[in-house]
Symmetry: C2
Subunit: 385 residues, 2 copies
Amino acid sequence: MKIAILGFGTVGRGVLACVEHINDIEIVKILDRQLNDEYPKLMTIDYQTIIDDQSIDAVVECMGGLHPAYEYVSQAFKAHKHVVTSNKALVSAFYQDLITCANKNNVHFSFTSSAGGAIPWLSSLKRAKRSDDIVSVHGIVNGTSNYILDNMANGKLSFADALKAAQDLGYAEADPSADIKGYDTMRKCVISANIAFDTLIDEKDVLVMGIQKITISDMNFFKKHDYRCRLIMEASLHIDKVSAYVEPTLFDMNALESNVCSNNNLITFNGKNTGDLSFYGQGAGKLPTGNAIVQDLLDIKDHQVVTQKLGKMLIIDNTYVKHAYYLRSKVTSDILTDVIDQQEIIAGNSFIITKPISVVAAHKLACEIALSDTDYFMAGIKESN
Amino acid sequence: MKIAILGFGTVGRGVLACVEHINDIEIVKILDRQLNDEYPKLMTIDYQTIIDDQSIDAVVECMGGLHPAYEYVSQAFKAHKHVVTSNKALVSAFYQDLITCANKNNVHFSFTSSAGGAIPWLSSLKRAKRSDDIVSVHGIVNGTSNYILDNMANGKLSFADALKAAQDLGYAEADPSADIKGYDTMRKCVISANIAFDTLIDEKDVLVMGIQKITISDMNFFKKHDYRCRLIMEASLHIDKVSAYVEPTLFDMNALESNVCSNNNLITFNGKNTGDLSFYGQGAGKLPTGNAIVQDLLDIKDHQVVTQKLGKMLIIDNTYVKHAYYLRSKVTSDILTDVIDQQEIIAGNSFIITKPISVVAAHKLACEIALSDTDYFMAGIKESN
């Protein structure tokens, strides 16, 4: 199998390193923005030479971003080349379009590493669906956020210091918005739900809360009440609707999620036959991601791809899910009166546990609070099993 | 694909329930010890009719035990039928023999559910090996033991009461020896190591300690020192040798293993590219096991089996692994003098933490202690990450 790599950053170099010892996969071209002295026989800045090379069976897209990744991937399909990518922004935004294009051209579009990195999450989910009905998917899918939350709780760092540490280690990007505001998690939610429920959900309908406002005072409250905070995605099937949201979530100390340390991921599906099955490991990184891409390539080479059905659009309805929330805010207005279950006031901040309210109601409440207190922090509370 | 089920207990019924909604898998015979009124068109007590039925593509062995399971499975291979089983005793004891026989007859022998039940552990391990070198496998693979340990710690039950509760729930058998003495865990260690390292290790060379002597006084010590006790298997590759052992093991409260509750399993492999990848879920039960068997059948039907190499015999050498141990004993003789790091004496019992010693030395020490104190309990201590 001959492949071309598009983009020669961390992930592209990871693929190169992981392919090295694999017989039957040969890298014949590497597309990069500019030529350098490395691998002169492989490097090109001209994508057309890759498209025109009929010996290339598959293109590995490691550029990131939506454009020109979208155009390049579409072109590859039309040239009857398989595509493997770890680009969750691309997969989440153009899911229907790209799978349709791949199917039309009778080639495969594989993206296991786009959610869960090294973890065989999406591939296991696809395989599970062959014999089981998936009821829900949920979990920790953003290593940067988890690193920050873990280091604030255990290392007693402020949010800013924990973010800085994540950036110093290469876990967080210079602009960490997508990670800390929950958009990266949202994309992995969309991709996981689409596969789990044979559906097509729209990014903009997923309700998203991030961790960007969390403080040491929140962490102190969680510690006092034996909670750990994790940024999670959750999507469940409700007959012909789907609930799908991203929230910081408080778990009791006995939950598996509570012991997910550093930048690791833990992702779970609940199947009617199997109950909860969870998958843990590195959600990013050069060799972990490179290895997952190579696994996708091997599946294509060995004809072991589980075909992805393209489902129908399902409406997202987050009124189905209700749980209690934690809220720290300076707001004292009566918008909170009806929802308060417990309240502590410390140094002008209200630390509130709400009654169970729907996810829709909670995210609406958050918007209202933000009008008068932009520093508030809110998190769902997971009931103990 | 037409299949026959051998044995119609919990697992056999689970397969029947899980196959119901699967197109293309049809149960045409069920072998049971005696005929009953259920499924009169399917039931038979005569295995030869199954062997002679050339329309049957695969045999699902759910009888358990070594004999006649071994003979029946061998006969099926010779009649060119694939075999799927969840029978870990069979797979562990006759690994080389059965895989050789299957290969010779050009059929598949699949046994994903023999270690980890519902968890796609062995199938993921096989797939991982296509692109990664596996360094070690370890984890909680016996749900009964975990249920007992979890209920002793959290429910404050005695060992006898926790075992009784496990038996009442159907988690433990009337004779629980294989579970609590670690032999079931040892078998899953052998199977996992054979796949992970392309080797053939011998059951009798795996060092095994069980949980049968654990008491509330041990649990109190663990609680006081922030440990949780789990029964684990561990096997690692050391160039051309393998370490492989089963031990109760103390984890700190932040370890993922510490939060594996009830009868769940958590199994991990460490790969050179991926680092630790862990898999969590139900390790047994009617539908979970039935579902895993159906997944194996679908892999065979869809030509998605990752071929199992039959490796060479590797010597087990447990001198490679050293760690501290916990020991509770009434023994005061000088066999302990050299190994003691910390010691507390409470009500005539010594509670000892040893210096790091090899697994071989520890299991030898256990044998010496047993000569004068049959009630002792010993457990490895996992270093924090």
